[in-house]
C-alpha cells in the first residue's frame, strides 16, 4: 500500500485528477453549479492525494524519479525527479489548493450567470497542474512547458473578471513581465545546454564543472531575473501588486501563497543544488535583494488602502524574508560553514511554508469581506467585526502570524531567520559583517512596520463604526468558506506550537541536498520540545510559550473578572468625543493611520499631495464649491527604472528602423552582405 502511495502511479493519478477536473468543468460549462462542483471536487480529491503522497515521500525520505522515454525527442524528455525538496513544495501546493478549493466552491457562486464557471474551473485546475509539474520536472524544456502552463493559466485567472478594465490592464502587465522573465529563464537554460549538452537537470548537475565561471555568473544573473520576476523581488515586482488583486480571491491566495514560491523553488534548486559550487557574491546579491525587498515591500504595503494590494505587497516582503534565509545559506556554504548554511535553508523553507499558510488565510478572509462589501477599498469598511465575527478572528490570527507575533507560526520562521543572520554577524569580520547587519536591520524594521500595517488593516476593516451604508446587509460568510479559513488559522497556530517537530522535518529535507549530506546539525530539540540553536546560543520552547501565554491570559481574566469586585456594573454608552456628534468620518482612516510613517519615509516613498478647489465664482474665488485632495505615492520603479528602460528601447528601435528603407535593392544588398559574412565565419 505504502509502495503504491509513494510510487509514480500515485503522482500520475494526482495529475490526472486535476486534468479530469479541468476537462470536465469545460464539458459541463452549460451548467454553472455542476461545473463548479465538478472542478472543485476533483481539485479537492487531487490535493488530498497530493498531501498524502508528499507527506509519505518526506517521511520515508524517498526520491522518486521516472522518465517517459516513449514520448521523448532529442532534447525533450518528460522526466520527473521528485526529491524531498520537490515533495515539500508539492505538500505546500496541495495544502493550499485543498483549502482554496473548499473555499472556492462557495465563493465563486457570485460569478454564476455572469462569467463562465467552466472556464474558471478549467484554468484553475490547469494552473495547479502547471505548478505541480514545475516543482517536479527534471528536464529544462519540459520545465519550460510546465512553467508556461502555469503562467498562461494564471493569466486567464487574473483577467477572469473581465468587465473591469483595470483587470485587463493588470493581466497584460502580468503577461509582459512573465514573458520577460521566461525569456531570461530560456537564456539561462540555453547557456546550461551549451556547456553540458543536455537539458536534463541531473546531467547538468553532474556536468557543472564544465561551465566556466563567467558563464556561470551569467546563468545566475539571468535565472535570478527570470525566477525573481515570478517570485516578485524588487525591482521586478511591479506586476505583483496589480495582478494578484485582480484574480478571484481564492486564486489570489494560490498565486500569493504558492505560485510565487515556484520562483523560490528554482532559486533554491539552482543555487544550492544544481550550480554548486558557487562564488561568494551570489549569496551577497541574494541577501541584498532580500533586505531591499523586505523593507520596501512592507513600506509599499503601508501606502495601500486596497486590501488585496496591501496583502500582495506583503508577499514581496515575505519573499524578501525567505531570500534572507537562502542568501545567508549560500554565503555560509561558499565560506565552508555547512552547518550554518543548513540553518539558513531551514529558516527559508519554514518561512515558505508559513507564508503560504497565513497569506492564503489572509487572502481568503479578505475575499469574504470583499464578497460582502463589493469593494476592495478599506476606507469603505469599518465595524465589520460585529457583522462577520468569525472572519474577523481568522483575519486577526492571520495578521498576528504575518506580523511574527508568538505563538503563531510566522514568529518561529522569522526567529530562525534572525538567528541565521545573528550567526553571520558573529562569525565574520567587518568586511562581511556589514551585509548581515544590513539584513538583520531591515528585518527588524520590517517586523515593526508589518505590525503597524496589520494594525491599520485590521483596525480599519473590522473595528470602530461602519463607514458605509452598505453594511446593513452584510452577513457572515458561508460554512465552507469559514471551514477553510478556520482550518488554515488552526494550522497557523499548530505550526507555531509544533515548530520544533517541523524544524526537524525540514532539516531532513535540507540534508537530502547533495551538499548537506553529511552536515552536522546546528539545531537541536530536547525533551521539552525546546528548539536550540548552536550550543546554547539561543533556545525557545514553543509549547511552553503557548501554554504560558494562554494560562496567564486565563488567570488574569479569571482574577480580575470573577474575584476582584465581581459585582461591578458595566454601562454601555457613546464614545466620548468632546461633546460633538459622532460620525464615521471622525474615525481614523487607513490612509490617515499610515500617514505619519509615509511622511517619515518620504525620501523613499515620495508621497505627493494635490489640492483641487472648485469655486462658485471663478473670478472672485471666495466661496469654494468643492475641495478635492489627492494623496498619492509615486511609483519610483516606473519613473526611475521602467520609464527610462522604455525610452532607451524605443530610441534604439527608432534608430534601427532607419535600415528599413523599403527599397528592394537595399534588402538584396543586405542579403548579400550577410551571405559574405556567413561565408567568412564558416571559413
Amino acid at each position: 500500500m505504502l509502495e503504491i502511495i509513494t510510487s509514480q502511479i500515485s503522482f500520475l493519478i494526482l495529475l490526472s485528477l486535476f486534468f479530469i477536473g479541468a476537462i470536465g468543468s469545460l464539458f459541463f460549462k452549460k451548467n454553472d453549479a455542476l461545473s463548479n462542483a465538478w472542478s472543485n471536487f476533483f481539485a479537492i480529491t487531487g490535493s488530498l492525494l497530493g498531501l498524502i503522497f508528499s507527506i509519505f515521500l518526506i517521511i520515508k525520505e524517498k526520491t522518486l524519479s521516472f522518465t517517459f522515454n516513449q514520448y521523448s525527442f532529442s532534447f525533450f524528455t518528460p522526466s520527473f525527479n521528485i526529491d524531498m525538496l520537490s515533495a515539500f513544495f508539492i505538500f505546500i501546493i496541495s495544502l493550499i489548493t485543498l483549502f482554496c478549493s473548499i473555499y472556492g466552491s462557495s465563493y465563486i457562486k457570485h460569478f454564476y450567470k455572469k462569467y463562465s464557471i467552466g472556464a474558471l474551473g478549467f484554468f484553475y485546475n490547469l494552473f495547479i497542474i502547471g505548478m505541480l509539474l514545475v516543482v517536479s520536472a527534471s528536464n529544462g524544456l519540459f520545465f519550460l512547458i510546465a512553467w508556461e502552463i502555469m503562467s498562461i493559466a494564471s493569466y486567464f485567472l487574473v483577467v477572469y473578471d473581465r468587465n473591469d478594465k483595470n483587470n485587463i490592464k493588470a493581466g497584460f502587465l502580468y503577461l509582459v513581465m512573465t514573458y520577460v522573465g521566461t525569456a531570461f529563464i530560456i537564456l539561462s537554460f540555453l547557456l546550461l545546454y551549451k556547456y553540458t549538452k543536455s537539458f536534463d537537470f541531473a546531467v547538468i548537475k553532474s556536468g557543472i564543472a564544465l561551465i566556466p565561471l563567467s558563464v556561470k555568473n551569467a546563468i545566475f544573473i539571468f535565472s535570478l531575473i527570470g525566477f525573481g520576476t515570478k517570485a516578485g523581488i524588487i525591482p521586478f515586482h511591479i506586476w505583483l501588486p496589480v495582478a494578484h488583486p485582480s484574480a478571484p480571491s481564492h486564486v489570489s491566495a494560490l498565486m500569493s501563497g504558492v505560485m510565487i514560491k515556484t520562483g523560490i523553488y528554482m532559486i533554491i534548486r539552482l543555487s544550492l543544488d544544481m550550480l554548486q559550487p558557487i562564488p561568494l557574491w551570489w549569496g551577497l546579491t541574494i541577501l541584498i535583494i532580500g533586505s531591499v525587498s523586505t523593507l520596501l515591500g512592507v513600506l509599499h504595503a503601508l501606502t495601500e488602502h486596497d486590501i488585496k494590494k496591501l496583502l500582495a505587497c506583503h508577499s514581496i516582503e515575505n519573499i524578501g524574508i525567505i531570500l534572507l534565509g537562502i542568501g545567508s545559506s549560500m554565503i555560509f556554504y561558499s565560506l565552508n560553514m555547512p552547518s550554518l548554511a543548513l540553518l539558513g535553508l531551514i529558516a527559508a523553507l519554514f518561512h515558505t511554508l508559513n507564508h503560504a499558510i497565513f497569506k492564503s488565510l489572509l487572502f481568503l478572509s479578505a475575499g469574504s469581506v470583499i464578497n460582502e462589501m463589493h469593494t476592495r477599498n478599506m476606507e469603505k469598511y469599518g465595524g465589520l467585526i460585529k457583522y462577520m465575527p468569525q472572519t474577523a478572528i481568522f483575519f486577526l490570527i492571520g495578521s498576528m502570524a504575518i506580523s511574527a507575533l508568538p505563538p503563531f507560526n510566522g514568529f518561529f520562521s522569522e526567529w530562525l531567520t534572525f538567528q541565521t543572520l545573528f550567526q553571520g554577524i558573529m562569525q565574520f569580520d567587518p568586511s562581511l559583517q556589514w551585509i548581515f547587519i544590513i539584513a538583520a536591520g531591515s528585518l527588524t524594521f520590517t517586523g515593526g512596520l508589518a505590525l503597524a500595517c496589520f494594525v491599520k488593516a485590521f483596525g480599519s476593516i473590522f473595528l470602530a463604526r461602519p463607514r458605509s451604508a452598505n453594511i446593513t446587509h452584510v452577513k457572515e460568510s458561508s460554512l465552507s468558506m469559514r471551514i477553510s479559513m478556520g482550518v488554515l488559522a488552526l494550522l497557523s497556530i499548530l505550526f507555531g506550537i509544533f515548530s520544533g517537530y517541523t524544524t526537524i522535518l525540514l532539516e531532513k529535507i535540507g540534508k537530502n541536498f547533495t551538499i548537506f549530506q553529511n552536515t552536522p546539525s546546528f539545531i537541536s530539540t530536547n525533551y521539552y520540545k525546546n528548539l536550540s540553536i548552536g550550543s546554547n546560543f539561543a533556545s525557545v520552547s514553543t509549547p511552553a510559550l503557548f501554554i504560558l501565554l494562554i494560562f496567564a491570559i486565563f488567570l488574569v481574566i479569571f482574577t480580575f473578572r470573577y474575584i476582584i469586585n465581581k459585582n461591578q456594573k458595566i454601562k454601555i454608552n457613546d464614545t466620548w468625543n468632546c461633546g460633538t456628534q459622532l460620525t464615521p468620518r471622525m474615525e481614523i482612516t487607513a490612509t490617515g493611520f499610515a500617514r505619519s510613517i509615509i511622511l517619515i519615509f518620504k525620501g523613499i516613498l515620495k508621497p505627493s499631495i494635490q489640492h483641487e478647489i472648485e469655486y462658485h465664482d471663478a473670478e472672485s474665488r471666495y466661496l469654494p464649491k468643492s475641495r478635492t485632495i489627492t494623496l498619492s505615492v509615486g511609483n519610483m520603479y516606473h519613473s526611475y527604472f521602467y520609464q527610462p528602460l522604455h525610452t532607451i528601447i524605443n530610441g534604439l528601435s527608432l534608430r534601427i528602423k532607419n535600415i528599413q528603407s523599403g527599397n528592394i535593392n537595399t534588402y538584396i544588398s543586405y542579403i548579400f552582405i550577410a551571405l559574405i559574412i556567413a561565408l567568412f565565419t564558416v571559413l
Binding site: 469599518g382 556589514w434 524594521f445 470602530a464 546560543f537 496567564a552 488574569v556 469586585n565 458595566i570
Partner: protein
C-alpha cells in the same frame, strides 16, 4: 527553595511596578517644588479603579473588552521570563531576546487595536503614533540587546546576565554605546519624555493616554498597571543586561536578598534619571522622534562593529 524563588520572580514585576511610577512622580514633584503624592499613591489608585463601575463604548467590540487582560498577561509572562534579581535561574524555554521583544509586541498590537476600536478621534491617532514609534524603536531595541548577546555569545537573557559583560573582558565603549541606544528605546517604549507625556490627557501629541482614553474602572486599572509593568521590564533589562552588578548568581539566601536589594537600588537610580530627564527637557515634536530612534539604531550598529 527554587519554587519560592520562581514565585518571587513571577509576582515581582506586578508587585513592584507601581512603585516605580510613584517614585518618578515623587521626584518630579520635588523638582517642581511641590510636596507630591505619597510614593504608594499608584497602588491606591489601582485599588480605587479596580472597585469602580465601568462605562464601555457601544461601538467597542470584544477586542476592546479583552485587550486589557491580554496586555496585562503578556507583561506578566515577560516579567517572569527576564532576569530580575537572580541570574542563576536557567530558563531556556521563554527567555530569549527575540521572544521577549515580540511578546511585548503582542501587547502593543492589542493596545493599538483597542485604541481604534471605539472609533473616537483620539484613539485612532494615538494608535497610529504608537505604531509609528514602536516600528521605528524595534531596530534599536533588537540591536541593543543583540550587542550584549554577541558580547556574551548567547541570546538567552539569564545567561547574558550571568556572564556579566563587565568581567568578561569586553571594552566599555560598545556596552556604553549600546546602553545609550537602549535607553532611548526605553523612553520610547514606555511612553516617557521626549516621546510622550505620561502626565496629561488631551494634549495634542499624546500617544499612550490617547489609546486608553475610553477605558474606565478595572480595565483602566489593568492598562495603567500593564504600562507600569512594561516600565519595570525595561528597567530590569537595562540594569541586569548592561550592569549585572549585585545580581544573585547562586541560590544562596543571602545572595538573593542582596540581589533584590541591589535591584531595588538600580530601579531607584533609573527612576531618578527618568524623572530628571522629564523635568529638564520638553517633549519633542512628533516628526523629530524618528531622528532620535535612528540615532539609537546607529549607536547600536557602532557598538556591534566595535565589539570584535
Amino acid at each position: 527553595m527554587s519554587i519560592l524563588i520562581w514565585i518571587i520572580q513571577l509576582i515581582f514585576v506586578p508587585v513592584v511596578s507601581p512603585l516605580c511610577v510613584g517614585i518618578i512622580r515623587k521626584i518630579k514633584a520635588k523638582l517642581q517644588n511641590r510636596q507630591g503624592a505619597n510614593i504608594l499613591q499608584p497602588y491606591k489608585d489601582l485599588w480605587k479603579l479596580l472597585h469602580k463601575d465601568e462605562i464601555i463604548s457601544k461601538d467597542a467590540s470584544w477586542i476592546f473588552q479583552y485587550a486589557p487582560f491580554i496586555i496585562f498577561a503578556v507583561t506578566i509572562v515577560v516579567g517572569a521570563s527576564i532576569p530580575l534579581f537572580s541570574s542563576f535561574l536557567n530558563n531556556t524555554l521563554t527567555s530569549d531576546i527575540l521572544v521577549i521583544i515580540y511578546m511585548l509586541s503582542i501587547g502593543t498590537f492589542f493596545l493599538a487595536l483597542a485604541g481604534m476600536d471605539t472609533g473616537g478621534g483620539f484613539g485612532g491617532f494615538g494608535s497610529s503614533r504608537e505604531m509609528t514609534i514602536s516600528a521605528l524603536a524595534e531596530g534599536g531595541l533588537i540591536f541593543s540587546l543583540l550587542t550584549v548577546a554577541i558580547a556574551s555569545n548567547t541570546t538567552n537573557l539569564f545567561t547574558i546576565s550571568n556572564a556579566n559583560i563587565f568581567t568578561s573582558g569586553q571594552s566599555f565603549l560598545p556596552i556604553i554605546l549600546a546602553f545609550s541606544g537602549f535607553f532611548i528605546v526605553l523612553l520610547a517604549e514606555t511612553a516617557r519624555f521626549p516621546f510622550d507625556n505620561p502626565a496629561t490627557h488631551l494634549e495634542l501629541t499624546m500617544v499612550h493616554e490617547a489609546m486608553i482614553l475610553e477605558y474606565s474602572g478595572k480595565k483602566l486599572a489593568l492598562m495603567e498597571w500593564a504600562s507600569s509593568n512594561k516600565l519595570l521590564i525595561f528597567i530590569a533589562l537595562g540594569s541586569n543586561l548592561f550592569f549585572p552588578l549585585g545580581i544573585a548568581q547562586s541560590a544562596n539566601i543571602n545572595a538573593i536578598i542582596f540581589g533584590i536589594f541591589a535591584f531595588i537600588i538600580k530601579i531607584f537610580i533609573f527612576c531618578l534619571v527618568i524623572a530628571l530627564l522629564e523635568s529638564s527637557m520638553a517633549k519633542f515634536r512628533f516628526f523629530r522622534l524618528p531622528d532620535l530612534l535612528i540615532v539609537s539604531f546607529i549607536l547600536n550598529i557602532m557598538a556591534i562593529c566595535l565589539i570584535h
